[in-house]
């Protein structure tokens, strides 16, 4: 087989080699790398860098036109509108109060959701790491919601929680008065956190499970020989050795939490009022769902969001770096 294939490959490579050898002679050994990077750079440029540049351009222009040629330059006016607040702690004192409501909602949501997400994922991973009956089945069960589309997740829970939904039907059957789960701001917010954790915890559980399985068994055996309690083993062995993985999970869930949009938008529509409106929905609303569509303000808001994500991503890089050093 080699006798047939090898000469063909050699012939092809010989043909390919001609232009590249020529290119290398012209460009030099160091600069030839750019030739190989060019296709990727082109696609990155068109689909990543160009939109980023356009976003800056939109953020600095006003009007309701889509094409930049029809949009007047307004400088940093869009940022001024977004950042104009007497007190950033009180959205009502801000010129664009709805954006700041979404910022505060996102902040509270991320703190609670990430906290619950990491804690529950860790607990689940620890349980799934033990020698359970049907362990594979349970691992699949916890991972299953991750495979669902966010809209499907939202619709499932909407059917359960709406006034005439499944949960209230159970309540009525038990003689309990039905509850308007999605009419109270606090309840709707709480359910949004719950659903988000339910939908994504499988992914983080999987990462933590991998981290747990990477801890050498002999360390545990040594601790058991020393008659260390389960809690002590967890605190002194599991947690420190899992810390780098936990940090990655924390940062990843933080980034994902800040970007929350689709499932909550489909679940509550951002309501009641603006109780479950988060930053990305706010940007979507400003740029596309509101009237008139304010692309400039939406672009400015998305740049502010990008800044937050850059900080969080830097944190992730730092966490990964720390992990590697260890």
């Amino acid at each position: 087989m080699d006798r047939i294939v090898a000469p063909i490959i050699r012939a092809v490579m010989g043909i390919v080699d001609v232009p590249f050898a020529l290119a290398q002679r012209v460009l030099g050994q160091r600069r030839i790398a750019w030739l190989f990077l060019a296709p990727n750079l082109f696609f990155f440029g068109v689909f990543a860098f160009l939109p980023i540049g356009l976003n800056f351009a939109y953020a600095l222009t006003g009007g309701d036109q889509m094409f930049l040629a029809g949009r007047p330059y307004v400088g940093v006016d869009n940022f001024s509108v977004l950042l104009s607040c007497r007190s950033y702690f009180d959205p009502n004192s801000c010129e664009y109060d709805l954006f700041w409501r979404s910022v505060w909602n996102t902040l509270v949501f991320v703190m609670l959701q990430v906290g619950f997400m990491v804690a529950i994922s860790l607990l689940t991973a620890i349980i799934l790491n033990r020698d359970l009956v049907a362990r594979g089945f349970f691992r699949a069960v916890f991972f299953f919601p991750v495979l669902l589309s966010p809209v499907v997740v939202a619709l499932i829970w909407k059917w359960i929680l709406q006034r005439h939904g499944v949960l209230n039907a159970v309540f009525v059957a038990l003689g309990i008065a039905p509850v308007d789960w999605l009419l109270s701001a606090n309840l709707a917010f709480g359910w949004s956190i719950f659903i988000s954790v339910w939908a994504h915890m499988g992914f983080y559980t999987l990462i933590l499970l991998a981290g747990l399985q990477a801890i050498p068994r002999d360390v545990y055996e040594a601790a058991q020989l020393d008659r260390a309690s389960r809690f002590r083993i967890f605190r002194r062995i599991t947690l420190p050795l899992l810390a780098p993985t936990l940090l990655v999970v924390l940062v990843l869930s933080l980034i994902k939490g800040v970007q929350t949009f689709d499932e909550i938008f489909a679940f509550t529509g951002g309501g009641p009022g603006s109780a479950t409106t988060f930053i990305v929905q706010s940007i979507y609303h400003i740029g596309f769902a509101g009237t008139p569509r304010n692309h400039g303000l939406a672009a400015a808001a998305s740049l502010i969001l990008a800044l937050v994500l850059v900080v969080l991503t830097t944190l992730q890089f730092w966490a990964n770096k720390g992990h590697r050093h260890e």
């Binding site: 889509m66 509550t268 529509g269 309501g271 009022g273 769902a289 509101g290 569509r293």
Partner: protein, 421 residues
């Protein structure tokens, strides 16, 4: 041999040219399948295709939200269908194809005169841009069976909204219905009662939205949502400016008085059937007047189309008496076409309840307030509707006081008008 080959080549080229010509006459229409107009339009458009074999019309049925949110973005970017059935009539004017060169302007003026302005950019604009496919009127529908069961008399023609609220509360209490009243989550639906309460909407031809009359109704409406007179989930359960109706509550017999509009007639005909009696009643009065809002959906062509003449010809075809009457008859709507309205529509096959309802809606359309017509015809009205929904909801759920909400509505309007310039 060469001759045969040349002939075969000529035949092939001719076939290709014909195929090309057929492709050149492909026209796309976007319409909302939620409004049930799409299916009826398809069958009428088939008639057009039969008369014009070189034209192929593709009617894409999409969700209503796609027409409201995606279509403007598509048009902004220079894309989109050749025609669309829209409900946001004025604000997309800059994309519309002017039909004037292709149609009999006098026929259009005589039959659709009052509605042509709804598509224009302002008083100076005299173009013909859209066919008012459906004229709608907002107003109340009641569950007559619940009133009869509760033995509560219907308030009379001049009854105020407070009278109706009192009656609906009595009916709900007597029958165990969950919700006395509901009003669609829409600034358009809110506008009728607000105008009845004295809202002027404009001052010196400039939009103001919030004034004493508007505030009076807004306060009342927020209070009714908080005390359970209004079904709170309709407005208070949603975020942003998303639309929400109360069809499930009404169809399931849980709602006594539903302020919605004439387009629900066909919905109720199919979904309620003979389960209970429902009835259209006159719009509730306020201190100023008793009015609903006109509205509806229209068919427009877009400037970017490669086939302006064909697009105009299709729209003009649907505007002709016979086709228009058939469309209105089958979709159970109020006609905007003066000639068709004067002749009357049979609404063949509909039950007497539906016929009675459509008769009331048609009569109501003639007695709406001029402010309501002006508001519907204002090109930036969608911004005002959305502001109403957003801010009044915030007051209902307690994020803002009603005074804060009204102040925000004013500043939002200023910002929106500045942005729309």
């Amino acid at each position: 041999m060469i001759r045969k080959f040349s002939m075969a080549l000529a035949v092939m080229l001719g076939a290709c040219a014909l195929t090309g010509a057929a492709k050149a006459q492909e026209v796309r229409l976007m319409c909302s399948f939620d409004l049930e107009t799409c299916d009826v339009m398809r069958s009428l458009l088939k008639k057009y295709e039969d008369k014009h074999p070189d034209v192929h019309i593709i009617a894409d049925g999409v969700p209503y939200a796609a027409v409201m949110e995606s279509l403007p973005a598509q048009l902004d970017s220079g894309n989109g269908p050749d025609m669309a059935v829209i409900t946001d009539l004025g604000s997309m004017n800059r994309f519309y194809l002017d039909l004037t060169p292709y149609v009999d302007a006098k026929y259009w003026q005589d039959n659709f005169g009052p509605y042509l302005t709804w598509y224009r950019n302002g008083p100076a604009d005299k173009g013909i841009y859209g066919l008012q496919m459906i004229l709608t009127v907002t107003g109340p529908i009641i569950n007559r069976t619940l009133f009869d069961q509760a033995n509560v008399a219907l308030p009379g023609r001049d009854a105020t909204m407070d009278d109706w609220a009192a009656a609906a509360r009595k009916v709900a209490a007597a029958t165990g219905a969950l919700y006395p009243m509901a009003l669609d989550r829409s600034g358009h639906r809110f506008a009728g009662p607000a105008i009845s309460h004295g809202a002027k909407i404009f001052a010196e031809s400039k939009p103001i939205l919030v004034d004493e009359g508007f505030s009076t109704f807004a306060r009342k409406f927020v209070e009714w949502n908080q005390d359970g007179t209004m079904a709170r989930q309709v407005w208070g359960g949603k975020g942003g400016n998303a639309f929400q109706d109360a069809i499930p509550e009404f169809v399931n017999g849980q709602l006594v008085y539903y302020f919605s509009g004439s387009w629900q007639t066909t919905v109720f005909e199919h979904q309620i059937g003979s389960n209970f009696d429902w009835e259209v009643v006159p719009p509730p009065c306020g201190p100023a007047t008793c009015t609903g809002m006109p509205g509806g959906s229209g068919l427009v062509g877009f400037k970017h189309t490669k086939h302006p003449e064909t697009v105009a010809s299709i729209i003009n075809f649907l505007a002709q008496d016979d086709n228009y009457a058939e469309f209105i008859d089958r979709t159970r709507n109020v006609p905007a076409h003066a000639g068709v309205a004067a002749k009357g529509v049979d609404y063949k096959g509909s039950d007497p309840q539906v016929q009675k309802a459509l008769k009331v809606w048609t009569e109501e359309a003639r007695s709406l307030s001029p402010i309501a017509y002006a508001y519907q015809g204002y090109k930036n009205n969608r911004s005002m509707f959305n502001i109403t929904v957003q801010r009044i909801t915030q007051a209902i759920v307690g994020e803002l006081t009603i005074d804060e909400a009204l102040a925000r509505a004013k500043s939002d309007l200023d910002a929106a008008l500045k942005q729309a310039k």
